[in-house]
């Protein structure tokens, strides 16, 4: 019991604190609207009436957790129960749209990142020339460049999943490049000298020494890349006219002041990111344990 509490105690404490702050914030932020309504109706509100009102407004400034929870249930679980899991009003459908471009962008970004890292580590010209551009690419606000990518790709006849995935790739290749360059350079002088004493070829040095050595760096980069990729997918959904995806739900919600919808999309995105990053963490644990790189 003590051991279990030691592990989950801090987590529960933080979760409780978040809920307390959230409810307090909801009351504070929704109070002016509640007073406005009461004034127009010409009634006085008791404290308990006031709090009850702040908990159940249609378009609250800050929806309290239970309203968001109810909305998420209504658009996920309840729809599954009714057999409409993939209807356009279902968050599962929108999550799937976002997830598919996140994953495609993540795979493309990881591939590009690893390829660039190998080039940078093995080619001096690339090391000198590519790295500044890689860094510069990340200083451009993605919100500014995302619509252009969509428009340009649309102009050459590419639309749908790929443009969004390209934006995800644009964000996710960066941590992979940085992490893999460091990882591929992590073998020390002694290990490289040792390879030389065996007259190993560059290829052998890469596959037998550099690549396995880079694995801890690789997985750490993947976690960041995955989160960045999800952000990219959501951003990529904004300029597409709010058709589908969690980004579209966010944008649609903000057009019509549907704060509950915004928050439920937001929380779903966060849960998705947490699940994806957690999955990579799990893979990292299994792989590195099998490689004897963590005890």
């Amino acid at each position: 019991m003590g051991a279990v509490w030691y592990r989950i105690g801090p987590i529960i404490t933080v979760v409780i604190a978040i809920f307390v702050l959230w409810y307090a914030g909801a009351v504070a932020l929704n109070t002016p609207w509640a007073y406005d309504k009461a004034k127009r109706a010409g009634v006085e509100l008791t404290t308990s009436q006031l709090i009850a009102d702040t908990m159940s407004q249609k378009k609250p400034k800050l929806p309290p957790p239970h309203q968001v929870g109810a909305e998420i249930w209504k658009t996920t679980g309840a729809m599954v129960v009714r057999g409409k899991a993939f209807s356009k009003r279902s968050l599962i459908y929108h999550s799937w749209i976002t997830l598919s471009s996140t994953l495609l962008g993540f795979v493309l970004g990881t591939g590009l990142g690893v390829a660039l890292a190998v080039g940078i580590v093995y080619n001096r010209t690339m090391d000198m020339s590519i790295m500044p551009w890689v860094i510069a690419s990340q200083t451009i606000p993605i919100l500014a460049i995302a619509p252009m990518i969509i428009v340009v790709l649309n102009a050459i006849g590419i639309s749908g999943l790929l443009p969004k995935a390209v934006i995800s790739m644009y964000l996710s290749f960066f941590p992979v490049v940085v992490g893999m360059v460091k990882g591929l350079r992590s073998p020390d002088h002694m290990q490289l000298d040792q390879m030389k004493t065996w007259s190993a070829t560059g290829n052998q040095e890469f596959w037998k020494l550099r690549l396995p050595s880079s694995m801890p760096y690789f997985f750490t980069s993947l976690k960041i890349a995955m989160a960045a990729s999800l952000v990219g997918a959501i951003v990529g959904e904004l300029p597409t006219g709010a058709v589908a995806g969690l980004g579209a739900r966010l944008l649609g919600g903000s057009y019509y002041g549907q704060t509950i919808q915004i928050w439920s999309a937001l929380l779903t995105a966060a849960a998705l990111a947490a699940a994806l990053v957690g999955l990579i963490g799990l893979m990292q644990n299994i792989v590195l344990k099998r490689m004897g790189m963590v005890r």
Partner: protein, 261 residues
């Protein structure tokens, strides 16, 4: 130079250009190592003993002079895999088993699977690690890891074994034990061994030839042919002969320092 000469250095110099000006790591070093010799290089830090070993291994290029290994240039010898090199740290790959680590140079050299298996068994037995093939490095003590790294250097049957302070990071007791085993291994395999060390007793106990070096510039101050028998139990270190040689090594080291002052 005779037929028996395996490594021959003539007027070897190596100068590193650094920001603080040139550093003379080696200056006019001349030495012949014969087949089956156990040669120790001893001296204070910066005397160039490790650099000399690295030149033999073609890990450094001399700036002047000549070196031949097995009658060819150091580079050709390296490419022909003429030597096994043991570093101060075992440097075993954590993601490979002990067997997998020993197999590594064999895989790189394209040795067949069956030959790999045979070699792994043979060298594991030589360093008394039979039965540890499937263990991972972290499951072994520091001394055992270093033995595994020696096994790895032996795996491809090079005639020369170059060792750079292989036992420097180990405690005295483990070190004694490994010294004893190294002598036994040397007697069984008849390799030519180059051995860098800081320790006078270690150098005297192991070697047929002790090369005393001194720093700034790195050079050889004395070459002592050991008169100890080939058969050496640990308590030979209390014999008069041993103490006499150790004394001469110490004198050589001190002389190097006097020049310095």
């Amino acid at each position: 130079m005779t037929d028996q000469t395996v490594i021959s250095a003539k007027d070897l110099s190596l100068t590193f250009e650094t920001n603080d000006g040139p550093v003379h790591a080696l200056q006019d070093v001349t030495l012949d190592i014969n087949k089956g010799d156990f040669v120790s290089f001893i001296g204070p830090s910066g005397c160039g003993k490790t650099t000399f070993l690295r030149v033999m291994a073609d890990l450094e290029k001399p700036t002047a002079g000549e070196i031949t290994v097995n009658g060819v240039s150091a580079e050709e010898a390296r490419k022909a895999r003429a030597y096994g090199y043991v570093f101060q740290h075992a440097g075993l790959y954590p993601w490979r088993t002990i067997g997998g680590n020993i197999r590594l140079p064999l895989e790189i050299m394209g040795v067949s699977k069956a030959e790999q298996d045979a070699s792994v068994q043979e060298v594991l037995e030589l360093v008394h690690l039979d039965g540890f093939e499937k263990k991972f490095p972290w499951q072994l003590s520091g001394g055992m890891q270093q033995r595994a790294s020696i096994a790895r250097a032996l795996a491809f049957h090079a005639d020369i074994l170059l060792m750079d302070e292989p036992f420097g990071a180990l405690d005295e007791i483990v070190r004694d034990h490994l010294n004893e085993q190294l002598l036994e291994l040397w007697a069984r395999t008849n390799k030519t061994i180059g051995f860098v060390t800081h320790s006078i007793p270690e150098a005297v106990y192991l070697s047929t030839k002790i090369v005393v070096m001194s720093p700034r510039p790195g050079r050889i101050t004395d070459v002592i042919e050991s008169t100890l028998p080939k058969e050496r139990p640990l308590d030979i270190r209390d014999s008069e002969e041993f103490i006499k040689i150790a004394h001469r090594v110490r004198d050589g080291l001190r002389a190097g320092h006097e020049d310095d002052a």
